[in-house]
Protein backbone atom coordinates (compact mmCIF):
# COMPACT_ATOMS: atom_id res chain seq x y z
CA UNK A 1 0.00 0.00 0.00
CA UNK A 2 1.33 3.42 -0.91
CA UNK A 3 1.55 6.24 1.57
CA UNK A 4 -0.52 8.83 -0.19
CA UNK A 5 -1.79 12.01 1.48
CA UNK A 6 -5.18 10.36 1.40
CA UNK A 7 -4.10 7.22 3.22
CA UNK A 8 -2.20 9.38 5.68
CA UNK A 9 -5.34 11.40 6.33
CA UNK A 10 -7.34 8.24 6.82
CA UNK A 11 -4.73 6.95 9.25
CA UNK A 12 -4.81 10.21 11.20
CA UNK A 13 -8.61 10.15 11.33
CA UNK A 14 -8.64 6.59 12.63
CA UNK A 15 -6.11 7.57 15.29
CA UNK A 16 -8.21 10.56 16.27
CA UNK A 17 -11.32 8.37 16.50
CA UNK A 18 -9.48 5.93 18.75
CA UNK A 19 -8.32 8.72 21.04
CA UNK A 20 -11.83 10.22 21.26
CA UNK A 21 -13.48 6.88 21.92
CA UNK A 22 -10.82 5.98 24.43
CA UNK A 23 -11.07 9.18 26.42
CA UNK A 24 -14.84 9.24 26.03
CA UNK A 25 -15.11 5.69 27.30
CA UNK A 26 -12.92 6.54 30.26
CA UNK A 27 -15.04 9.53 31.16
CA UNK A 28 -18.43 7.92 30.62
CA UNK A 29 -17.68 4.73 32.49
CA UNK A 30 -15.50 6.45 35.07
CA UNK A 31 -12.69 3.98 34.48
CA UNK A 32 -9.74 3.78 36.84
CA UNK A 33 -6.45 4.84 35.22
CA UNK A 34 -5.07 1.51 36.42
CA UNK A 35 -7.38 -0.15 33.92
CA UNK A 36 -7.34 2.42 31.13
CA UNK A 37 -4.75 5.15 31.52
CA UNK A 38 -5.28 8.53 29.90
CA UNK A 39 -3.91 9.08 26.42
CA UNK A 40 -1.65 11.85 27.70
CA UNK A 41 -0.09 9.71 30.40
CA UNK A 42 0.48 6.93 27.85
CA UNK A 43 2.16 9.41 25.52
CA UNK A 44 4.28 10.88 28.28
CA UNK A 45 5.27 7.37 29.31
CA UNK A 46 6.17 6.65 25.71
CA UNK A 47 8.12 9.89 25.54
CA UNK A 48 10.11 9.03 28.65
CA UNK A 49 10.89 5.54 27.43
CA UNK A 50 11.89 6.87 24.00
CA UNK A 51 13.98 9.69 25.43
CA UNK A 52 15.84 7.42 27.81
CA UNK A 53 16.62 5.20 24.86
CA UNK A 54 15.18 2.23 26.68
CA UNK A 55 12.57 1.33 24.07
CA UNK A 56 14.98 1.73 21.17
CA UNK A 57 17.55 -0.32 23.00
CA UNK A 58 15.08 -3.09 23.65
CA UNK A 59 13.76 -2.90 20.09
CA UNK A 60 17.25 -3.17 18.69
CA UNK A 61 17.77 -6.28 20.75
CA UNK A 62 14.44 -7.74 19.64
CA UNK A 63 15.33 -7.05 16.01
CA UNK A 64 18.71 -8.66 16.33
CA UNK A 65 17.00 -11.83 17.54
CA UNK A 66 14.43 -11.72 14.74
CA UNK A 67 17.13 -11.07 12.16
CA UNK A 68 19.10 -14.03 13.40
CA UNK A 69 16.02 -16.24 13.55
CA UNK A 70 14.82 -15.30 10.07
CA UNK A 71 18.32 -15.71 8.66
CA UNK A 72 18.74 -19.18 10.10
CA UNK A 73 15.13 -20.16 9.33
CA UNK A 74 15.40 -19.00 5.72
CA UNK A 75 18.70 -20.78 5.26
CA UNK A 76 17.26 -24.01 6.62
CA UNK A 77 14.13 -23.65 4.47
CA UNK A 78 16.23 -23.25 1.31
CA UNK A 79 18.30 -26.26 2.34
CA UNK A 80 15.17 -28.31 2.96
CA UNK A 81 13.79 -27.20 -0.41
CA UNK A 82 16.95 -28.35 -2.15
CA UNK A 83 16.84 -31.71 -0.38
CA UNK A 84 13.16 -32.01 -1.25
CA UNK A 85 13.95 -31.24 -4.87
CA UNK A 86 16.40 -34.15 -5.02
CA UNK A 87 14.00 -36.81 -3.88
CA UNK A 88 10.29 -37.13 -4.11
CA UNK A 89 10.10 -39.22 -0.94
CA UNK A 90 12.02 -36.57 0.99
CA UNK A 91 9.67 -33.89 -0.33
CA UNK A 92 6.60 -35.87 0.68
CA UNK A 93 7.97 -36.62 4.15
CA UNK A 94 8.80 -32.97 4.56
CA UNK A 95 5.35 -31.95 3.43
CA UNK A 96 3.77 -34.16 6.07
CA UNK A 97 6.09 -32.93 8.79
CA UNK A 98 5.43 -29.33 7.75
CA UNK A 99 1.67 -29.83 7.88
CA UNK A 100 2.09 -31.09 11.45
CA UNK A 101 4.45 -28.37 12.66
CA UNK A 102 3.23 -25.39 10.66
CA UNK A 103 0.14 -24.81 12.84
CA UNK A 104 2.06 -25.28 16.10
CA UNK A 105 2.55 -21.90 17.81
CA UNK A 106 6.20 -21.35 18.62
CA UNK A 107 5.44 -20.54 22.20
CA UNK A 108 3.86 -23.98 22.69
CA UNK A 109 7.31 -25.42 22.14
CA UNK A 110 8.77 -23.40 24.98
CA UNK A 111 9.07 -26.16 27.60
CA UNK A 112 10.83 -28.44 25.14
CA UNK A 113 13.03 -25.62 23.90
CA UNK A 114 14.12 -24.91 27.47
CA UNK A 115 15.02 -28.55 27.91
CA UNK A 116 16.98 -28.77 24.69
CA UNK A 117 18.45 -25.33 24.25
CA UNK A 118 18.36 -23.86 27.71
CA UNK A 119 17.03 -20.43 28.46
CA UNK A 120 18.00 -17.10 27.03
CA UNK A 121 18.91 -15.85 23.63
CA UNK A 122 19.37 -19.24 22.02
CA UNK A 123 15.93 -20.45 23.12
CA UNK A 124 14.23 -17.37 21.68
CA UNK A 125 16.12 -17.73 18.42
CA UNK A 126 15.06 -21.37 18.22
CA UNK A 127 11.43 -20.37 18.69
CA UNK A 128 11.74 -17.71 15.99
CA UNK A 129 13.40 -20.21 13.66
CA UNK A 130 10.44 -22.50 14.21
CA UNK A 131 8.01 -19.67 13.47
CA UNK A 132 9.91 -18.81 10.29
CA UNK A 133 10.93 -22.16 8.91
CA UNK A 134 7.61 -23.91 8.30
CA UNK A 135 5.67 -21.14 6.58
CA UNK A 136 8.71 -20.31 4.51
CA UNK A 137 9.30 -23.92 3.52
CA UNK A 138 5.65 -24.45 2.63
CA UNK A 139 5.65 -21.32 0.48
CA UNK A 140 8.98 -22.12 -1.12
CA UNK A 141 7.73 -25.57 -2.06
CA UNK A 142 4.52 -24.18 -3.49
CA UNK A 143 6.56 -21.57 -5.37
CA UNK A 144 8.97 -24.17 -6.69
CA UNK A 145 6.08 -26.30 -7.95
CA UNK A 146 4.55 -23.27 -9.59
CA UNK A 147 7.61 -22.45 -11.71
CA UNK A 148 6.32 -22.60 -15.27
CA UNK A 149 7.31 -25.70 -17.26
CA UNK A 150 8.27 -23.33 -20.06
CA UNK A 151 10.98 -21.81 -17.84
CA UNK A 152 12.37 -25.29 -17.35
CA UNK A 153 12.44 -25.76 -21.12
CA UNK A 154 14.17 -22.40 -21.61
CA UNK A 155 16.68 -23.28 -18.90
CA UNK A 156 17.47 -26.62 -20.49
CA UNK A 157 17.70 -25.08 -23.94
CA UNK A 158 20.26 -22.61 -22.55
CA UNK A 159 22.20 -25.50 -21.00
CA UNK A 160 21.91 -23.97 -17.54
CA UNK A 161 23.21 -25.99 -14.61
CA UNK A 162 20.68 -26.79 -11.88
CA UNK A 163 22.32 -24.18 -9.63
CA UNK A 164 22.31 -21.54 -12.31
CA UNK A 165 18.67 -22.30 -13.08
CA UNK A 166 17.76 -22.13 -9.41
CA UNK A 167 19.48 -18.79 -8.89
CA UNK A 168 18.69 -17.06 -12.17
CA UNK A 169 15.22 -18.40 -12.98
CA UNK A 170 13.56 -20.41 -10.21
CA UNK A 171 14.41 -17.89 -7.47
CA UNK A 172 13.04 -14.76 -9.17
CA UNK A 173 10.06 -16.72 -10.48
CA UNK A 174 9.31 -17.70 -6.88
CA UNK A 175 9.59 -14.19 -5.42
CA UNK A 176 5.81 -13.77 -4.89
CA UNK A 177 5.80 -16.96 -2.84
CA UNK A 178 8.99 -16.04 -1.01
CA UNK A 179 7.50 -12.68 -0.04
CA UNK A 180 4.22 -14.24 1.04
CA UNK A 181 6.19 -16.72 3.14
CA UNK A 182 8.32 -13.96 4.64
CA UNK A 183 5.23 -11.94 5.51
CA UNK A 184 3.80 -14.87 7.47
CA UNK A 185 7.23 -15.59 8.92
CA UNK A 186 7.60 -12.00 10.08
CA UNK A 187 4.13 -11.83 11.62
CA UNK A 188 4.61 -15.11 13.42
CA UNK A 189 8.11 -14.45 14.61
CA UNK A 190 7.21 -10.98 15.87
CA UNK A 191 4.41 -12.48 17.93
CA UNK A 192 6.49 -15.41 19.11
CA UNK A 193 9.33 -13.10 20.02
CA UNK A 194 7.17 -10.84 22.15
CA UNK A 195 5.64 -13.84 23.92
CA UNK A 196 8.99 -15.48 24.50
CA UNK A 197 10.53 -12.28 25.79
CA UNK A 198 7.63 -11.77 28.15
CA UNK A 199 8.37 -15.18 29.56
CA UNK A 200 12.13 -15.19 29.60
CA UNK A 201 13.20 -11.85 30.83
CA UNK A 202 16.47 -10.08 30.50
CA UNK A 203 19.44 -11.58 28.77
CA UNK A 204 22.47 -9.51 29.71
CA UNK A 205 20.63 -6.26 30.27
CA UNK A 206 18.42 -6.78 27.22
CA UNK A 207 15.04 -8.33 27.38
CA UNK A 208 13.60 -6.93 24.21
CA UNK A 209 10.32 -5.13 23.83
CA UNK A 210 8.41 -8.09 25.28
CA UNK A 211 10.38 -7.82 28.48
CA UNK A 212 9.67 -4.11 28.54
CA UNK A 213 5.95 -4.95 28.46
CA UNK A 214 6.32 -7.60 31.13
CA UNK A 215 8.12 -5.34 33.60
CA UNK A 216 5.49 -2.63 33.10
CA UNK A 217 2.87 -5.23 33.85
CA UNK A 218 4.38 -6.65 37.02
CA UNK A 219 5.06 -3.19 38.41
CA UNK A 220 1.57 -2.11 37.43
CA UNK A 221 2.75 0.75 35.26
CA UNK A 222 -0.38 0.65 33.14
CA UNK A 223 0.49 3.78 31.16
CA UNK A 224 3.91 2.30 30.39
CA UNK A 225 2.24 -0.97 29.44
CA UNK A 226 0.06 0.77 26.89
CA UNK A 227 3.05 2.73 25.63
CA UNK A 228 4.81 -0.59 25.04
CA UNK A 229 1.77 -2.06 23.30
CA UNK A 230 1.65 1.02 21.10
CA UNK A 231 5.26 0.47 20.12
CA UNK A 232 4.63 -3.20 19.36
CA UNK A 233 1.70 -2.28 17.12
CA UNK A 234 3.51 0.55 15.38
CA UNK A 235 6.65 -1.46 14.74
CA UNK A 236 4.58 -4.39 13.50
CA UNK A 237 2.66 -2.34 11.02
CA UNK A 238 5.70 -0.26 10.07
CA UNK A 239 7.59 -3.37 9.04
CA UNK A 240 4.49 -4.70 7.35
CA UNK A 241 3.83 -1.55 5.36
CA UNK A 242 7.14 0.17 4.93
CA UNK A 243 9.58 -2.71 4.68
CA UNK A 244 7.41 -5.24 2.90
CA UNK A 245 5.71 -2.45 0.96
CA UNK A 246 9.06 -1.26 -0.32
CA UNK A 247 10.28 -4.73 -1.23
CA UNK A 248 7.04 -5.53 -3.01
CA UNK A 249 7.02 -2.28 -4.92
CA UNK A 250 10.55 -2.88 -6.12
CA UNK A 251 9.92 -6.49 -7.08
CA UNK A 252 6.59 -8.10 -7.78
CA UNK A 253 4.66 -4.86 -8.30
CA UNK A 254 7.28 -3.68 -10.73
CA UNK A 255 7.31 -7.02 -12.51
CA UNK A 256 3.55 -7.33 -12.61
CA UNK A 257 3.80 -10.60 -10.67
CA UNK A 258 1.43 -9.69 -7.87
CA UNK A 259 -1.39 -11.83 -9.16
Amino acid sequence: MKTTPRSFLRFALVLLAIVILWEGGRAVFNVSPLVMPGVLSVLSSLGTALASGEILHQLAFSFSLIGMGIGIGAGLAVLALIIGAQSRVAAEVMGTVASLFHPLPGIALLPVVILWFGVGKMAIVVIIVHSVFWPLLTNLQAGYRSVSPTYHLVGRNLEMSPTSFAVRIAAPATVPYILAGLRIAWARSWRALISAEMIFGAVAAHGGIGWFLHTRRVFMDTAGLFAGILVVMLVGSLVERVVFGFVERSTIDRWGMNG
Binding site: N157, E159, I169, W255, G256
Partner: protein, 249 residues
Protein backbone atom coordinates in the same frame (compact mmCIF):
# COMPACT_ATOMS: atom_id res chain seq x y z
CA UNK B 1 13.65 -37.61 -48.07
CA UNK B 2 15.47 -36.58 -44.87
CA UNK B 3 19.14 -36.08 -45.41
CA UNK B 4 20.91 -37.12 -42.21
CA UNK B 5 23.96 -34.92 -42.88
CA UNK B 6 21.91 -31.72 -42.95
CA UNK B 7 22.20 -29.05 -40.26
CA UNK B 8 19.17 -30.53 -38.49
CA UNK B 9 17.44 -33.77 -39.20
CA UNK B 10 14.91 -35.89 -37.40
CA UNK B 11 14.59 -39.52 -38.44
CA UNK B 12 11.64 -41.88 -37.94
CA UNK B 13 10.45 -40.07 -34.84
CA UNK B 14 7.79 -41.95 -32.91
CA UNK B 15 6.03 -40.30 -29.96
CA UNK B 16 3.11 -41.49 -27.86
CA UNK B 17 1.24 -39.87 -25.05
CA UNK B 18 -0.18 -42.90 -23.29
CA UNK B 19 -2.24 -44.73 -25.92
CA UNK B 20 -2.31 -41.73 -28.19
CA UNK B 21 0.19 -42.13 -31.03
CA UNK B 22 1.03 -38.52 -31.89
CA UNK B 23 4.00 -39.04 -34.22
CA UNK B 24 3.98 -42.36 -36.10
CA UNK B 25 7.54 -42.16 -37.47
CA UNK B 26 8.28 -38.73 -38.89
CA UNK B 27 11.39 -37.68 -40.73
CA UNK B 28 12.48 -34.29 -42.03
CA UNK B 29 15.61 -32.26 -42.40
CA UNK B 30 16.70 -28.64 -42.62
CA UNK B 31 19.87 -27.46 -44.29
CA UNK B 32 21.97 -24.45 -43.45
CA UNK B 33 20.55 -21.20 -44.86
CA UNK B 34 17.28 -23.01 -45.28
CA UNK B 35 13.86 -22.30 -43.83
CA UNK B 36 11.62 -25.35 -43.65
CA UNK B 37 8.03 -24.75 -42.68
CA UNK B 38 6.10 -27.41 -40.85
CA UNK B 39 2.50 -26.95 -41.84
CA UNK B 40 -0.36 -28.85 -40.29
CA UNK B 41 -3.73 -28.58 -38.62
CA UNK B 42 -4.05 -27.78 -34.96
CA UNK B 43 -3.25 -30.69 -32.68
CA UNK B 44 -1.43 -32.76 -35.31
CA UNK B 45 1.84 -32.85 -33.39
CA UNK B 46 3.85 -29.90 -34.74
CA UNK B 47 4.90 -28.59 -31.35
CA UNK B 48 5.67 -32.10 -30.20
CA UNK B 49 7.97 -32.63 -33.16
CA UNK B 50 9.59 -29.21 -32.69
CA UNK B 51 10.43 -29.93 -29.05
CA UNK B 52 11.83 -33.30 -30.01
CA UNK B 53 13.94 -31.57 -32.66
CA UNK B 54 15.27 -29.27 -29.92
CA UNK B 55 15.99 -32.34 -27.73
CA UNK B 56 13.65 -30.86 -25.13
CA UNK B 57 11.37 -33.87 -25.41
CA UNK B 58 12.49 -37.44 -25.68
CA UNK B 59 11.06 -39.43 -28.60
CA UNK B 60 9.91 -43.01 -28.03
CA UNK B 61 11.87 -43.96 -31.11
CA UNK B 62 13.97 -42.33 -33.81
CA UNK B 63 16.96 -40.01 -33.75
CA UNK B 64 17.76 -36.33 -33.97
CA UNK B 65 20.98 -35.35 -35.70
CA UNK B 66 22.82 -32.09 -35.87
CA UNK B 67 25.28 -31.92 -38.77
CA UNK B 68 24.88 -35.67 -39.03
CA UNK B 69 25.81 -36.32 -35.39
CA UNK B 70 23.11 -37.93 -33.21
CA UNK B 71 22.19 -35.74 -30.26
CA UNK B 72 20.04 -36.29 -27.18
CA UNK B 73 20.80 -33.21 -25.06
CA UNK B 74 19.58 -29.71 -25.87
CA UNK B 75 22.09 -26.99 -26.63
CA UNK B 76 21.95 -23.23 -26.89
CA UNK B 77 23.14 -23.36 -30.47
CA UNK B 78 19.86 -25.08 -31.41
CA UNK B 79 17.56 -22.44 -30.02
CA UNK B 80 13.84 -22.82 -29.68
CA UNK B 81 11.14 -20.20 -29.60
CA UNK B 82 8.13 -21.68 -27.87
CA UNK B 83 4.51 -21.44 -28.72
CA UNK B 84 3.81 -20.90 -24.99
CA UNK B 85 3.20 -17.29 -24.07
CA UNK B 86 5.21 -17.35 -20.82
CA UNK B 87 8.67 -17.99 -22.24
CA UNK B 88 10.05 -14.56 -21.38
CA UNK B 89 10.74 -13.61 -17.79
CA UNK B 90 8.46 -11.06 -16.13
CA UNK B 91 11.22 -9.99 -13.72
CA UNK B 92 13.48 -8.83 -16.54
CA UNK B 93 13.05 -5.88 -18.87
CA UNK B 94 12.78 -6.47 -22.60
CA UNK B 95 16.50 -5.83 -22.87
CA UNK B 96 17.20 -7.99 -19.83
CA UNK B 97 15.33 -10.85 -21.45
CA UNK B 98 17.14 -10.48 -24.75
CA UNK B 99 20.56 -10.27 -23.16
CA UNK B 100 19.94 -13.08 -20.66
CA UNK B 101 21.30 -15.91 -22.87
CA UNK B 102 24.12 -13.67 -24.18
CA UNK B 103 25.35 -12.99 -20.66
CA UNK B 104 25.09 -16.65 -19.73
CA UNK B 105 27.20 -17.38 -22.79
CA UNK B 106 29.69 -14.69 -21.87
CA UNK B 107 29.21 -12.71 -25.10
CA UNK B 108 31.33 -9.61 -24.51
CA UNK B 109 29.22 -7.05 -26.39
CA UNK B 110 25.96 -8.42 -25.01
CA UNK B 111 24.47 -5.04 -24.34
CA UNK B 112 25.09 -3.59 -27.78
CA UNK B 113 23.90 -6.77 -29.44
CA UNK B 114 20.77 -6.83 -27.31
CA UNK B 115 19.85 -3.25 -28.17
CA UNK B 116 20.61 -3.86 -31.86
CA UNK B 117 18.36 -6.93 -31.95
CA UNK B 118 15.56 -5.13 -30.15
CA UNK B 119 15.83 -2.40 -32.78
CA UNK B 120 15.54 -5.01 -35.53
CA UNK B 121 12.27 -6.30 -34.12
CA UNK B 122 11.05 -2.72 -33.64
CA UNK B 123 11.22 -2.64 -29.86
CA UNK B 124 14.09 -0.24 -29.16
CA UNK B 125 11.71 2.12 -27.38
CA UNK B 126 10.54 -0.65 -25.09
CA UNK B 127 14.00 -1.85 -24.03
CA UNK B 128 13.55 -0.85 -20.40
CA UNK B 129 9.94 -1.96 -20.09
CA UNK B 130 8.86 -5.04 -18.21
CA UNK B 131 6.86 -7.73 -20.05
CA UNK B 132 3.64 -6.88 -18.21
CA UNK B 133 3.87 -3.42 -19.73
CA UNK B 134 4.04 -4.88 -23.25
CA UNK B 135 1.34 -6.20 -25.55
CA UNK B 136 1.15 -9.88 -26.46
CA UNK B 137 2.72 -9.22 -29.84
CA UNK B 138 5.49 -7.15 -28.31
CA UNK B 139 6.24 -9.95 -25.88
CA UNK B 140 6.43 -12.37 -28.78
CA UNK B 141 8.94 -10.07 -30.43
CA UNK B 142 11.03 -10.01 -27.26
CA UNK B 143 11.18 -13.80 -27.42
CA UNK B 144 12.11 -13.52 -31.09
CA UNK B 145 14.85 -11.00 -30.33
CA UNK B 146 16.17 -13.22 -27.58
CA UNK B 147 16.57 -16.04 -30.10
CA UNK B 148 17.96 -13.87 -32.90
CA UNK B 149 20.49 -12.22 -30.62
CA UNK B 150 22.01 -15.61 -29.86
CA UNK B 151 22.65 -16.26 -33.59
CA UNK B 152 22.26 -20.01 -33.17
CA UNK B 153 23.05 -22.20 -36.15
CA UNK B 154 19.67 -23.93 -35.78
CA UNK B 155 16.48 -22.03 -34.95
CA UNK B 156 13.31 -23.91 -34.09
CA UNK B 157 10.34 -21.55 -34.09
CA UNK B 158 6.89 -22.64 -33.00
CA UNK B 159 4.32 -20.22 -34.43
CA UNK B 160 6.36 -17.19 -33.43
CA UNK B 161 4.28 -14.60 -35.28
CA UNK B 162 0.90 -15.80 -34.07
CA UNK B 163 -0.14 -12.63 -32.28
CA UNK B 164 1.27 -9.82 -34.38
CA UNK B 165 -0.66 -7.87 -36.99
CA UNK B 166 -0.32 -8.57 -40.70
CA UNK B 167 2.03 -5.75 -41.67
CA UNK B 168 4.34 -6.34 -38.71
CA UNK B 169 4.28 -9.99 -39.55
CA UNK B 170 5.53 -9.20 -43.06
CA UNK B 171 8.39 -7.17 -41.61
CA UNK B 172 9.33 -9.93 -39.19
CA UNK B 173 9.21 -12.52 -41.94
CA UNK B 174 11.56 -10.38 -44.03
CA UNK B 175 13.82 -9.94 -41.02
CA UNK B 176 13.96 -13.69 -40.49
CA UNK B 177 14.83 -14.28 -44.14
CA UNK B 178 17.58 -11.66 -43.96
CA UNK B 179 19.07 -13.01 -40.73
CA UNK B 180 19.07 -16.56 -42.04
CA UNK B 181 21.02 -15.40 -45.06
CA UNK B 182 23.41 -13.34 -42.92
CA UNK B 183 24.17 -16.02 -40.36
CA UNK B 184 23.66 -19.17 -42.44
CA UNK B 185 21.08 -20.47 -40.04
CA UNK B 186 18.87 -23.50 -40.43
CA UNK B 187 15.28 -22.76 -39.44
CA UNK B 188 12.48 -25.17 -38.64
CA UNK B 189 9.41 -22.97 -38.65
CA UNK B 190 6.10 -24.28 -37.37
CA UNK B 191 2.96 -22.62 -38.66
CA UNK B 192 -0.55 -23.37 -39.78
CA UNK B 193 -0.71 -20.36 -42.07
CA UNK B 194 -0.37 -21.38 -45.70
CA UNK B 195 0.55 -17.86 -46.91
CA UNK B 196 3.21 -17.54 -44.25
CA UNK B 197 4.78 -20.80 -45.22
CA UNK B 198 4.84 -19.74 -48.88
CA UNK B 199 6.45 -16.40 -48.07
CA UNK B 200 9.11 -17.94 -45.82
CA UNK B 201 9.99 -21.47 -46.76
CA UNK B 202 12.50 -23.06 -49.08
CA UNK B 203 10.51 -26.20 -48.45
CA UNK B 204 7.13 -26.86 -46.87
CA UNK B 205 6.49 -30.10 -45.02
CA UNK B 206 2.80 -30.91 -44.58
CA UNK B 207 1.63 -32.93 -41.65
CA UNK B 208 -1.79 -34.51 -41.52
CA UNK B 209 -4.11 -34.91 -38.60
CA UNK B 210 -2.60 -38.26 -37.69
CA UNK B 211 0.91 -36.85 -37.37
CA UNK B 212 2.24 -38.33 -40.59
CA UNK B 213 4.08 -36.30 -43.21
CA UNK B 214 1.80 -36.29 -46.23
CA UNK B 215 3.76 -34.07 -48.55
CA UNK B 216 6.78 -31.94 -49.13
CA UNK B 217 6.86 -28.93 -51.47
CA UNK B 218 9.76 -26.88 -52.69
CA UNK B 219 8.75 -23.26 -53.13
CA UNK B 220 9.93 -22.19 -56.58
CA UNK B 221 9.49 -18.44 -56.08
CA UNK B 222 12.28 -15.86 -56.04
CA UNK B 223 12.66 -13.54 -53.11
CA UNK B 224 11.27 -11.07 -52.24
CA UNK B 225 8.22 -13.18 -52.60
CA UNK B 226 4.62 -12.49 -53.24
CA UNK B 227 2.38 -15.27 -51.98
CA UNK B 228 -0.35 -13.98 -54.30
CA UNK B 229 1.69 -14.56 -57.49
CA UNK B 230 0.28 -17.19 -59.85
CA UNK B 231 2.83 -19.78 -58.73
CA UNK B 232 2.15 -18.90 -55.12
CA UNK B 233 -1.59 -19.16 -55.60
CA UNK B 234 -1.31 -22.55 -57.21
CA UNK B 235 0.89 -23.78 -54.41
CA UNK B 236 -1.46 -22.34 -51.84
CA UNK B 237 -4.33 -24.13 -53.49
CA UNK B 238 -2.46 -27.43 -53.52
CA UNK B 239 -1.51 -27.02 -49.85
CA UNK B 240 -5.06 -26.19 -48.97
CA UNK B 241 -6.30 -29.30 -50.71
CA UNK B 242 -3.74 -31.39 -48.93
CA UNK B 243 -4.58 -29.94 -45.53
CA UNK B 244 -8.28 -30.49 -46.11
CA UNK B 245 -7.88 -34.23 -46.52
CA UNK B 246 -8.59 -35.99 -43.30
CA UNK B 247 -7.23 -39.50 -43.75
CA UNK B 248 -7.89 -40.51 -40.18
CA UNK B 249 -11.46 -39.33 -40.01
Amino acid sequence: MADSAEALSVLNIVKRYGDHLVLPGVSLSVGAREIVCLLGPSGCGKSTLAKIAASLLEPDDGTVRVNGVPVTAPDANRFMIFQEQDQIFPWKTALGNVTFPLRLDGVPDWRARGIETLREVGLEAAAEKYPHQLSGGMRQRVALARAFAMRPSVLIMDEPFASVDASLRFDLQDLLVRLVAEHSQAVLFVTHEIDESIRLAERIVVMSDDGAVTGEHTVPIDRPRDARSPVGSRLAHALFEQLSEHPSR
